[in-house]
């Protein structure tokens, strides 16, 4: 009875959902073309939710509630805090960008908040059907956000493409859930794990097929090869702040759920799915990095880099579960900070509906905006995985997990493709620092809120690169809670 009434684990999501509804309502009473109240409201709601995550984390340990469907365990709290932080930084980046592109509409913030609700649910679900519902809440809101810039055809294309491939992925996911249910008689990960530990040999192929379908479904969301085709177009077409949010938030939420399903629910099938994930990781790292070499558009470049990073993350997925969770959680933090920063710089420079499209548009940035150029360099260095940045510590952790579990080949592919990535990241740095500026300064003064957002990203990137121990400890605790 007490179990049913304990709603504490869903408090963060509830706060965000409620804020979303209020934001929509508030918009109805705001003059057209203004969104200031929504952004302040969203910020307050997200901070409140973050505080509630902190309270949950510092309180006594929480068991699963709502008939075992939702939990506030270490993994979910860690990722919820990360997702909320990502959303906060996105909200800080948004007003300037929306104004520059004439998209100051309250729906933006409401959709953002609803998508956060989905993400929060995704990382805290212990049950496959509620996980699916959360996945859909997150995705549907994002489809809408991708298409918000109605004046640009690319934005429309991006939304449609994302929707079609997303629906495809959802179908796979659902089919996988059905197969797993067929084998185990339950959709609760806990019971699935128990059923799989005593699985009869005849049912094994069906279980593996179910796992494969789930992997395909997740593969779309994390942008792993060969389910990545949508990524460049969607990242390029969507409004830049949405891309920033998507690249950091969706990756965190989807990897959180992926970890829970595969390392916990389907842990007994590990020796069947591990080789598959290993192959996918190698292909993803290779293709993501090689394709990025050929890109001229910054956003497409970062999209392929995001695919490559999905590959790096997957190298740790095949490691022993404890190591995998720690390594992936830390990397998600580092990656979120860096990606928000990199897309954030592009968004912050946006003026009169235009933003830097190619590296050449950033030529001479170091002369005109030394601080901004230094920040973007820091983010690119972190993406490459060079000390003293969080990206380096993160890669070190991922590859250490892979090597410690005997997958040296994954680490080798990882580091060698990192060298390839250095080439295309450096090209942007070359433009900023070593090429003379072209024409007049066409870009916007960075608004104060965006300065705060970028400083936060840069601070986290540098701080966790120099002193990662506290986050590592948290990630380790989160990893333990799962096992």
């Amino acid at each position: 009875m007490n179990d049913v009434l304990d709603l504490r684990p869903i408090v963060p999501a509830a706060i965000v959902a409620l804020t979303g509804v209020v934001a929509l309502l508030a918009q109805a009473f705001t003059p057209k073309g203004q969104s200031a109240p929504s952004s302040a409201l969203s910020l307050a709601g997200l901070l409140g939710a973050l505080f509630s995550v902190y309270l949950l984390g510092s309180g006594p340990a929480q068991g699963a509630v709502l008939a075992g469907a939702v939990a506030a365990d270490g993994l979910s709290l860690f990722l919820q805090a990360l997702i909320l932080a990502v959303a906060i930084v996105t909200v800080l980046l948004s007003p300037g960008y929306l104004r520059a592109n004439g998209m100051e509409r309250g729906e933006y913030y409401a959709l953002l908040l609803f998508s956060v609700v989905g993400m929060l649910g995704l990382v805290s679900s212990l049950e496959l059907v509620s996980m699916f519902v959360a996945l859909e809440i997150m995705s549907v809101a994002l489809y809408g956000m991708a298409g918000l810039d109605r004046s640009r055809g690319e934005s429309q294309e991006s939304a449609l493409k994302y929707f079609v491939t997303g629906a495809f992925a959802s179908a796979f996911f659902l089919y996988g859930v059905a197969l797993v249910y067929g084998v185990s008689g339950s959709t609760s990960l806990d019971r699935v794990a128990r059923a799989l530990s005593v699985l009869s040999p005849q049912a094994l192929p069906l279980a593996i097929l179910g796992a494969a379908f789930l992997l395909v479904g997740f593969g779309f969301k994390i942008a792993s090869v060969p389910f990545h085709m949508w990524t460049p177009d969607v990242y390029e077409g969507a409004p830049t702040t949405v891309t920033a949010f998507m690249s950091a938030g969706v990756k965190a939420a989807a990897f959180g759920a992926l970890l829970r399903v595969f390392d916990y629910g389907l842990g007994d099938l590990a020796r069947h799915w591990q080789p598959l994930v290993a192959v996918l990781a190698i292909v993803t790292m290779l293709l993501g990095n090689l394709a990025a070499l050929a890109q001229t558009s910054l956003k497409r470049l970062l999209a392929y880099s995001s695919i490559a990073h999905a590959g790096y993350l997957m190298t740790a997925l095949v490691a022993a579960p404890g190591l995998a969770v720690e390594a992936i959680l830390f990397y998600l933090v580092a990656y979120a900070a860096v990606n928000l920063g990199a897309f954030g710089v592009i968004a912050a420079l946006s003026r009169d509906g235009r933003e830097p499209v190619t590296a050449a548009d950033l030529a001479g940035l170091a002369d005109r905006r030394p601080a901004l150029a230094a920040a973007l360099t820091l983010f690119l260095v972190s993406l490459t995985g060079i000390p003293v940045t969080a990206g380096f510590v993160g890669k070190f952790y991922l590859f250490n997990a892979a090597v410690a579990s005997g997958w040296v080949v994954l680490a080798l592919v990882g580091v060698l493709t990192s060298v390839v990535s250095a080439y295309y990241y450096l090209r942007v740095v070359v433009a900023m620092y070593m090429e003379p500026p072209l024409g007049e300064d066409r870009w916007a003064r960075v608004p104060p809120a965006a300065v705060l957002a970028l400083s936060l990203s840069a601070g986290v990137t540098l701080l966790f690169g120099l002193w990662p121990a506290p986050v590592l400890t948290l990630a380790r605790l989160a990893g333990r809670s799962l096992l």
Partner: protein, 522 residues
């Protein structure tokens, strides 16, 4: 000055970083202030570092050690310390940085603030590499240092600077990432859950695995040294870099390769190091002869000096491969010599370039008459580079050749050829540049050394002589550490003899690993 001795090394790393941070906050326009501040900070760092020499005890163990937990979960600590192998390399770094800043005083006119900041960060990174006693910390400094160097070449370099900067970066980065994987494998294989270098040295891993790990680390270091055939990034980087960049590159950065062998590759993988020593020795000697021959035909002064580095560092690598107390002492000493003499040569070539904006030997001739003091310094440094007795170069090369005799008389014989070739290319160049008539009218109005230039060169000239005549001041402090290293490796490998069969088995493996790498590069 009564500084806390226990934190001396940390202070040496933090002082340039703090200076860089403060200078980064100054206004773009206050350029002379930035130059002065940079010079002041680097001089203070140098003065501080001399305390290391005065407090150094001539023993083998680590001194000035500091250790703090950093990432306890992985057994990573901030562990620094120096011994005879690293002491002088730290001093070399702190000694050359102020000279570089002074030497670039009028050459660097744009973005002075960034230049000074990158130079100071580079200094901190280099000191860090030489004092790190934890693999993770070592790797952090090793990689982080690439960034300022990349900017130094790419922003203030010559015509093909961007190409050279990117090539430098990718080449060295590619080499080091394999080393990172080797560290991770070592971490797992050793089973002690620590990245601490002394702890890992005390717990050697399986000899078969050592071969692979040694090769991975050796590749990173061989690129840095650079050993033939991994040297192709060097001429581009040297030629395109601004003078200060070339000096730091030649004088300090290249030393990290040799130092890496002595501090990491050999003590961590002693069995493999002994087994693969013939391979390293042969590559070193090929480098000596190849570098000398290529220098002989260079029409460009800076390229000539760059290729002569390949040859000189071949000697260093021969000394390291031979692994006797004398040869290792000589190798460390030769690293210092090369830092002083090649650093000075790059300064000299840069000064000529500042006047004439060309480096082609054929453009010059008869400069002896126009620039007598310049000529005197150039000749002296050239003689040191040739290893003329009485100069520093002689002591180093002599120790290496004597020490390596026990290792392989035939390699020593071929290496000696390099000494003769060095005389040929250097003296021939000196003849073409300084002797003959002042036929080119553009050279007639050239001014001799300015006071600032003389101030930069004087310490280097003085060291050339001091290190040639009073070498025991230096070798006395190097030798105990070199001896300890050699003894430790011998004790390890003789306790568990690798045997002739293992040696023969290792060479094909090594060949397989090296040949595809060179082909891929083409």
């Amino acid at each position: 000055m009564n500084l806390p001795i226990t934190q001396l090394l940390t202070l040496l790393i933090l002082l340039p970083i703090a200076g860089a941070l403060v200078i980064a906050l100054t206004r773009r326009e206050s350029q002379s202030l930035q130059k002065l501040a940079g010079l002041g900070v680097s001089l203070a760092t140098f003065v501080l570092s001399t305390r290391l020499v005065s407090l150094f005890r001539d023993t083998a163990g680590m001194q000035f050690e500091e250790r703090y937990a950093w990432i306890p979960a992985w057994g990573i600590s901030y562990h620094v310390g120096i011994d005879g192998l690293s002491l002088w390399l730290v001093i070399l770094t702190t000694f050359l940085t102020p000279l570089c800043l002074l030497g670039s005083w009028s050459q660097i006119e744009s973005r002075v603030r960034e230049f000074v900041v990158f130079m100071l960060l580079l200094e901190a990174g280099m000191i860090g590499v030489f004092v790190a006693l934890d693999l993770f910390l070592f790797y952090v400094f090793w990689e982080a240092m690439l960034i300022p160097m990349y900017f130094l070449i790419g922003i203030w370099g010559h015509e093909r600077r961007i190409y050279a900067a990117v090539k430098f970066f990718l080449y060295t980065f590619a080499g080091s990432v394999l080393m990172l994987v080797a560290f991770l494998v070592l971490y797992k294989a050793s089973g002690i859950r620590s990245f601490d270098i002394p702890a890992l040295v005390a717990a050697p891993v399986d000899p078969a695995l050592q071969t692979w790990l040694f090769l991975a680390c050796a590749l990173a270091f061989a690129i840095k040294v650079p050993m033939w055939p991994f040297h192709t990034w060097l001429p581009d980087a040297h030629v395109e870099a601004p003078t200060a960049g070339s000096v730091i590159l030649a004088a300090v950065l290249l030393k990290m390769g040799g130092y890496g062998f002595l501090r990491l590759a050999i003590p961590l993988f002693p069995d493999a190091a002994v087994r693969l020593a013939p391979l390293v020795g042969v590559l070193a000697v090929i480098g000596i002869v190849y570098g000398a021959l290529v220098s002989l035909v260079q029409p460009d002064l800076k390229k000539l000096v760059a290729y002569s580095s390949v040859s000189h560092l071949g000697f260093v690598m021969l000394g390291i491969a031979a692994l006797t107390t004398t040869s290792v002492t000589g190798a460390v000493y030769q690293m210092l010599n090369h830092g002083v003499s090649t650093g000075a040569l790059f300064f000299l070539v840069g000064m000529l370039y500042d006047r004439r904006h060309t480096r082609l030997i054929s453009e010059f001739g008869g400069l002896r008459a126009a620039m007598p003091w310049y000529f005197v310094v150039f000749l002296l440094i050239s003689l040191s580079s040739i290893a003329m007795p009485g100069t520093n170069g002689f002591v180093g090369e002599f120790l290496i050749l004597i020490g390596a005799w026990a290792f392989s008389p035939s390699l020593v014989a071929v290496a000696t050829l390099g000494v003769i070739l060095a005389a040929a290319y250097m003296l021939w160049m000196v003849k073409r540049v300084f002797y003959g008539g002042l036929s080119n009218p553009k050279n007639q109005g050239l001014s001799d050394l300015s006071a600032r230039e003389a101030t930069v060169l004087l310490p280097l000239v003085a060291l050339t002589i001091v290190m040639g005549v009073l070498s025991p001041i230096f070798t006395r402090r190097i030798e105990p550490a070199a001896d300890a290293l050699v003894r430790q490796v011998r004790a390890r490998t003789e306790a568990a003899p690798a045997g002739v069969a293992a040696l023969e088995a290792a060479v094909p493996v090594a060949r397989e690993a090296v040949v595809p790498a060179t082909e891929a590069r083409r």
